[in-house]
């Protein structure tokens, strides 16, 4: 239920982002919200279904991002699943407390997502020119993702708390749920 709610919220947020972001002045450097949702699902995988459920939810989110971004289907799907699985693997060793930790996680997720995307594109033989400008965009995008993670993660915790059982709800409220 939690995962479903977060997945639905992620899809809606991505649609809203694709519709609204172009009205903002920094259109090129949009935060990788899909990566944030994927990493959050991965970090909280242990409480509901484990890594496969988180991966499946991340896959839905990634495929949604593929369509919305106009990318070849599966590009962001693969990256989202990969991020979610990596996060699920590391979840037992991570405790996100404080804005810096959340922002750093968001930035890492964005950079990781960029690596997966570029890697997949490179594996398919896509002509990539990862010059300085692309690198600059990736870095700015990671920074924007870090900024977006700071309010998004507490929001997702609240959603999670509302849709969880009492014990998980308490833990989610405390921010201890992993």
């Amino acid at each position: 239920m939690r995962t479903l709610a977060i997945t639905a919220l992620a899809c809606l947020t991505l649609v809203l982002q694709s519709a609204l972001w172009r009205y903002l002045p920094f259109e090129l450097a949009a935060p990788d919200l899909w990566a944030l949702f994927a990493v959050y699902l991965g970090l909280h995988a242990a409480t509901e279904g484990g890594a496969p459920v988180a991966g499946l939810a991340a896959l839905v989110i990634g495929l949604n991002q593929d369509v919305l971004a106009g990318a070849p289907t599966g590009l962001f799907g693969f990256s989202a699943v990969a991020i979610a699985l990596v996060a699920a693997l590391l979840s037992k060793h991570l405790l996100l407390r404080g804005r810096v930790a959340i922002g750093g996680t968001g930035m890492t997720a964005s950079l990781l997502g960029a690596c997966f995307v570029l890697g997949l594109l490179g594996a398919e033989g896509a002509e990539l020119r990862p010059g300085l400008s692309l690198m600059a965009v990736i870095v700015v995008q990671a920074f924007m993702t870090a900024l977006a993670a700071v309010p998004l993660f507490p929001l997702l915790r609240r959603v999670e708390a509302r849709t969880s059982r009492q014990r998980a709800r308490d833990l989610a409220r405390e921010g201890l749920l992993r």
């Binding site: 496969p52 369509v67 289907t73 599966g74 590009l75 799907g77």
Partner: protein, 310 residues
Amino acid sequence: MTTVGRRIRDGVLSVVLLAFPALVFHANFKTQDSLNILDKVVLKIAAPLQAVVGWAVRGIGDTWKSYLFLVDVQGENQELRASNRELRAALAEKTRLAAHAAHLEKLLGLRRETPAETVAARVVGAKMSPYFRVTRLQLEDHTGTLRENLPVIAVAQGSGAPGAVVGLIHKVYSAAGRTFADVKLAVDPRSKIDVKVGVAGARGVLRGMQGETGYTCRLEYVDRADEVKVGDIVATSGIGGFFPPDLLIGKVSKVVRLDYALYQEVEVEPFIDFSKLDEVLIILAAPPPPDPDAADKLPAPPARGPVPAR
């Protein structure tokens, strides 16, 4: 299920989950232009949602922009109105000052042309009575020589005449350190000015018309045999001692010559617009009489040098 089994299951599922999008991507990468089923499903849901969100955002944005535009326009409008008011006031003030300067220039010209000592005075009030036509003056500078029965003249606006008779000083008094004088206007019923009319020089006495709303006067004692016609210029005759001769007063506006009467009934329209009187000149002293021997007098011989033979 044991932990190991669960781990194996999770591992397999993770690989499947990674493999699925990778394969889909591999399959779609070369044929990106065609939409697959997943694309169609997601687009069918997302596209209308995006359109609605875009429409709402555009609507809100347009409304907000319109509001801001209107706010700007309103502010700009207020500024322009205020600026316009200030400019109009400044223009009105400049126009008034220009008219005043022109009037003063004419008054100065009249003063130069008047062969008598004069002093300027400003009209500060008029006594509101249908029976008497009196204007109150305040002197620009107190000369100390002001007295009753001094003639007052002014620039005749729009009449073509340089200056014309206003009236006679009626009362002189001081108040709050200033000198004031009441002028009995030429159109006052109590005013009597000996005048001559037209080129023929018909004589008569000018009096104000009592009870009339306008500033008009009539000529009395104009012999019915004298030739007087509408448009003739009326000027002072100099008889009576108050007014110097040949000061313009007005022009004849109506002539009625009755068969049985001794005198003609003549109405005179003054050159002065008494309702707009602003500045006047008070003639303090009459010009010196012309020297009858002036033609015979020669200039004094030079103190040095040859003296011309007579």
